[in-house]
């Protein structure tokens, strides 16, 4: 199947480029002064977080279009995006605490990114569980769409409340993970990493979509 092959190639390219990111981040990017080597986790953590959130927004958008157009391709895409989004969420939720421990002395902190990603992760889990619990394809697609749209609408509220929480409880400025003004070399590494995560997202979603299509083709509907 051509879609599957394309997906596989994109993924292979993505993984190869990931190796390049690793090399660049570890060997060719300056070490941050206050946080030391642990700061390099940032180059994986941030792009993964961006895609965790974007994945959910795409699930929501695809769901809206699905409810109007009833095109099963949109439903397949939503399912794929949810699974891949959850995967990236796992990366954020594991690298986050690992980064937090040496820097802030604690495994978990309620900072903006981790809190949002935790909620997104829970939404993804719910979304996939709901899909798993409904056997009839048409019903499953509709229910998933309702949940997906609701999830997407929740995201701005989480951003808002994290912002409000921060204005009430000011966080230490010195060791903030998302330094707004990064030196050029670090910014370049981050941008490169983000590009690679984008390629991986596309590759994974394409394959996952193809997988669903394959399953539908080999198993005739009941």
């Amino acid at each position: 199947m051509r879609l599957l092959k394309t997906g596989r190639w994109i993924t292979v390219v993505g993984l190869s480029l990931l190796a390049a990111v690793y090399v660049r981040a570890l060997a060719f990017t300056p070490v941050e002064r206050t946080q030391g080597v642990a700061q390099k986790i940032f180059y994986l953590h941030v792009p993964a977080a961006i895609w965790t959130e974007t994945g959910m927004i795409l699930v929501g958008v695809a769901s809206i279009f699905y409810l109007f157009l009833k095109d099963p391709r949109l439903d397949r895409f939503a399912e794929a995006s949810a699974e891949v989004g959850m995967l990236f969420g796992t990366i954020v939720l594991t690298t986050g605490p690992i980064w937090g421990k040496p820097i802030w002395g604690t495994w978990w902190t309620w900072d903006a990114r981790l809190t949002l990603t935790l909620l997104l992760f829970l939404m993804y889990v719910g979304y996939l569980l709901l899909r798993g619990a409904v056997t009839e394809p048409g019903l499953r697609a509709r229910y998933a769409a309702v949940l997906g749209i609701s999830g997407m609408c929740l995201v701005p509220f989480v951003h808002l409340s994290v912002y409000m929480f921060r204005t009430l409880h000011p966080q230490p400025i010195v060791l903030k993970p998302s330094a707004p003004s990064l030196p050029g070399a670090m910014l370049a590494t981050l941008a490169f990493s983000f590009l690679v995560f984008t390629v991986l997202y596309v590759g994974f979603v394409t394959q996952r979509y193809a997988l669903t299509l394959l399953r539908e083709q080999t198993e005739p509907h009941a």
């Binding site: 993984l15 030391g36 995967l87 980064w99």
Partner: protein, 33 residues
């Protein structure tokens, strides 16, 4: 700070494991006839 290195290494390994693991998972799932 050299003492941070284990954390960084762990995080990098876990990330790679998750991504490569999923790629392998997809590859095997799509091989079945």
């Amino acid at each position: 700070m050299p003492e941070n290195t284990p954390y960084m290494v762990t995080a990098y390994i876990i990330t790679a494991a998750i991504l490569i693991g999923y790629a392998v998972f997809l590859y095997r799932r799509t091989l079945k006839p």
